[in-house]
Amino acid sequence: MRASASNWKIALIGLLAISGLAIVGVSLRRGASRGCALDGAPINPLLRVRAVDRVGQSFEFCCIRCAEIWLRSQHEAPRQVFVTDEVSGLEIDAGKAYFVRSQVATNAATGNRVHTFEREEDAERHANAYGGSILPMAEHPF
């Protein structure tokens, strides 16, 4: 009977320690900075993609591939998607952007090779320099 009581005491102490550990762990993570809305990776400002959903909430992604995967998991199409012009770093509407698939990966973790440009000549320059091609409208990611 005594052994059983001590077992429960040890278990109770263990459970309290576990609870303490969980509370400390969660509170330490609370202040951590957020990255890509899909996988938490840091976002390079030149490659950022931003999607605005139906309720007006913005989701930022580290690359086009992450945004595509996120869009596939959504039941409704987003209200708007913005991409970043790789030359100027300015945010542009995805509908007006030129997309180039080249040999250069923007994100090795996702294998994304699609680049975005505001001007057609910049897109052509990148395609010529890195063995790529401008994507026709039907192949646009968004």
Partner: protein
């Protein structure tokens, strides 16, 4: 070959494990063969000493096996900065995929090690449980079964060590991550089939997974308590097979819960389903997984102790030993559920 502190430590423990495992296989085989010869079967002072040496070495192997499991994952984690694009351990496990050289075997080797490591810990624990029961008897009636378990343990350890040495030795620095890291494999519904069936991943099944996880594991806790009572007071027939089935059933459900619910919530990334990310980003939550595995292993040990360790001499105390194992399992599951609940509630 990538040389860092973890790789060196892992290599050293692997070599040590291999030597001990080979010795154990030899000693267990000798002991089994000697038992089949009638003249030698009589217990002598030397055979007793040999048994204790074998028991000590098995203890060493058990401790090394337990240490080798987290060490392996720490080594994989230490490899992450080696390749651009590798974000977590999952990425490291995919290095070499789609390559043409000897590196193409790397993902298979990692998958093998991810299977043999828990298996080794489980079989080591089984040996320890049987050894404890055998030690309490006068004529050591479980010797033969223990030698068989040691033979299995040594063989799996040898395979594990050989695979691990192969993994350490194969060059990796030239390789790139061709198949993508966890974002592509876990989050892209087009490619995530290999981890969970598509139906399980559907949004509407999320509540079902949550309900099944808490329900099944809660029921398992109650069943464990009832079984512990049954063992202690010997009131009802012990139904360990149902308990084992229940524990095995809860495994895929808990895995689905971990991938679909726990990892995204704890990491604050609702669309990211990579459980490997928990180790670097929420290390304390790994304790919930460890406790869950402890619970499951303890149920397995209790069942096998009852089935394999049953003899006329062990019967008087075996039920109490099984009860202790079930209690360990109960606390393992309870600790895991408490930790998981807090992690999810506070996230």
């Amino acid at each position: 070959m990538i040389l860092n502190a973890y790789a060196v430590l892992d290599g050293f423990t692997t070599f040590l494990r291999l030597v001990v495992a080979l010795f154990i296989i030899g000693a267990a085989l000798c002991a089994l063969m000697r038992r089949n010869i009638p003249d030698v079967a009589i217990e002598t002072e030397h055979s007793g000493e040999r048994y204790y040496l074998l028991a000590l070495l098995s203890c060493v192997l058990m401790l090394l096996n337990v240490a080798a499991w987290p060490l392996f994952y720490l080594m994989l984690e230490s490899y992450i900065p080696q390749w651009p694009g590798v974000m977590c351990i999952y990425g490291v496990t995919q290095i070499g995929a789609h390559s043409e050289g000897v590196s193409r075997y790397l993902p298979t080797l990692v998958r093998t090690l991810e299977t043999t490591k828990p298996l080794l810990v489980f079989v080591s624990g089984l040996w320890f449980v049987l050894h404890l029961a055998n030690r309490r008897t006068a004529t050591a009636p479980l010797n033969h079964r223990i030698f068989m378990v040691l033979l299995v343990l040594g063989s799996i350890a040898c395979v594990d060590c050989a695979v691990e040495i192969g993994y350490l030795a194969i060059p990796k620095t030239e390789e790139t991550l061709e198949s993508g890291c966890c974002t592509v494999r876990f989050d892209d519904s087009a490619q995530a089939e290999e981890f969970l069936p598509q139906a399980w991943r559907a949004e509407e099944n999320r509540t079902r997974i949550v309900g099944s996880y808490w329900g099944l594991n809660g029921f398992l806790l109650v069943a464990l308590l009832v079984s512990i009572r049954a063992c202690r007071w010997q009131l009802i027939r012990l139904d360990l097979a149902s308990l084992l089935v229940l524990a095995l059933l809860s495994l895929p459900v808990s895995l689905a819960f971990l991938i679909e619910v726990a990892a995204p919530t704890i990491l604050h990334l609702p669309y990211h389903h990579c459980p490997y990310d928990l180790l670097p980003k929420a290390p304390e939550s790994v304790l919930a997984i460890v406790l869950y595995l402890l619970g499951m292993f303890a149920v397995g040990w209790a069942c096998l102790a009852w089935w394999v360790g049953n003899s006329a001499e062990t019967r008087p105390f075996l039920k109490k030993q099984v009860a202790k194992l079930l209690l360990l399992g109960f606390f393992g599951y309870l600790g895991s559920l408490v930790m998981m609940y807090l992690e999810l509630a506070l996230a």
